[in-house]
């Protein structure tokens, strides 16, 4: 056999060996990919099976909650009136009255009264520091928050400089009343006696 024939055979053998090595390695890699995809398909099947009833269940929960909210809002409007109901809701959740009641579209156009104005956080702070705050005397969490006999000193700590014209003191003896009522100081209004059968 001539030398050229030997070289040809060697070249072909080298090419075949390269083909075998790389193709077998590729086949092994593809088998690993197939095994991994089998695991993925199994997990995805579990996800699909587990999440299938979620839509119906959540829709049922929302329907029940919507019905309950609608009924409670209707009861609140029926008993307190539209204006006071909006004021109460807006006092508990500031800004919620803008959304109105879901079964009363006209409630979105109304301006809620400021029923809960007195229950702001600043007022609570003043109530704690005020001279007549019962929370300072009978604090359930431990000792009193301040000495009730010298409560004005605690109130003064609210202002680093000179005390402004308005007073943070609240109560019946406060110089500034948050709600000035015309019947203060007059005899209490007596209700007519109702006879129950």
């Amino acid at each position: 056999m001539p030398a050229a024939g030997v070289v040809t055979i060697v070249a072909v053998v080298l090419i075949v060996l390269a083909l075998v090595y790389y193709l077998v390695s590729t086949i092994l890699a593809l088998r690993k990919i197939t095994d991994g995809l089998d695991e993925v398909i199994a997990s995805v099947g579990e996800i699909v099976a587990k999440s299938a009833p979620v839509n119906d269940v959540v829709a049922d929960i929302n329907a029940n909650l919507d019905a309950a909210v609608g009924a409670l809002e209707g009861l609140l409007v029926k008993k307190a009136g539209m204006g006071d109901a909006l004021g109460l809701v807006d006092g508990i959740y500031p800004g919620a009255a803008a959304q109105g009641f879901r079964d009363f579209p006209e409630s979105r156009e109304l301006t809620p009264p400021r029923i809960a104005e007195v229950y702001t956080r600043g007022t609570l702070t003043l109530a704690r520091l005020g001279r007549e705050a019962p929370i300072a005397v009978t604090s359930p969490a431990g000792p009193a928050l301040r000495d009730p006999a010298y409560g004005s000193a605690a109130a003064r700590t609210l202002y680093s400089g000179a005390r402004p014209a308005r007073s943070p003191v609240i109560g019946t003896g406060a110089p500034v009343q948050y709600e000035e009522r015309e019947d203060v100081g007059k005899p209490r209004k007596r209700f007519t006696r109702t006879k129950f059968v």
């Binding site: 790389y22 890699a29 995809l37 579990e46 996800i47 929960i61 309950a68």
Partner: protein
């Protein structure tokens, strides 16, 4: 004979490197897919495990129904007890 040698040279210097280069690229691409598929499988398994709690939604659904029924009964009682609002 000369053409034979030229053919051998082409086979060894051109065909064999090209074959090796192409097959090496295919093998590299295949091997790069394997870890990605492994990570996807792990994430899918973790997602499936996270959804184990969805069965509790049935309990939540039942409790919401009971709660709404209780609220409805309570609201009915309040409707009887409290007077309706009267416009001034």
């Amino acid at each position: 004979m000369t053409l034979w040698w030229i053919g051998n040279a082409v086979l060894l210097l051109a065909v064999l490197p090209v074959v090796v280069y192409l097959l090496h690229g295919v093998l590299g691409a295949s091997n790069s897919i394997v870890p990605s598929v492994r990570r996807i499988a792990d994430v899918a398994a973790a997602g499936s495990k996270d959804l184990d709690a969805t069965a509790l939604l049935l309990t939540t659904q039942d409790q919401v129904r009971q709660t709404v029924a209780g609220v409805a009964a309570y609201g009915g009682s309040l409707d009887v007890i409290l007077d309706d609002h009267e416009e001034a």
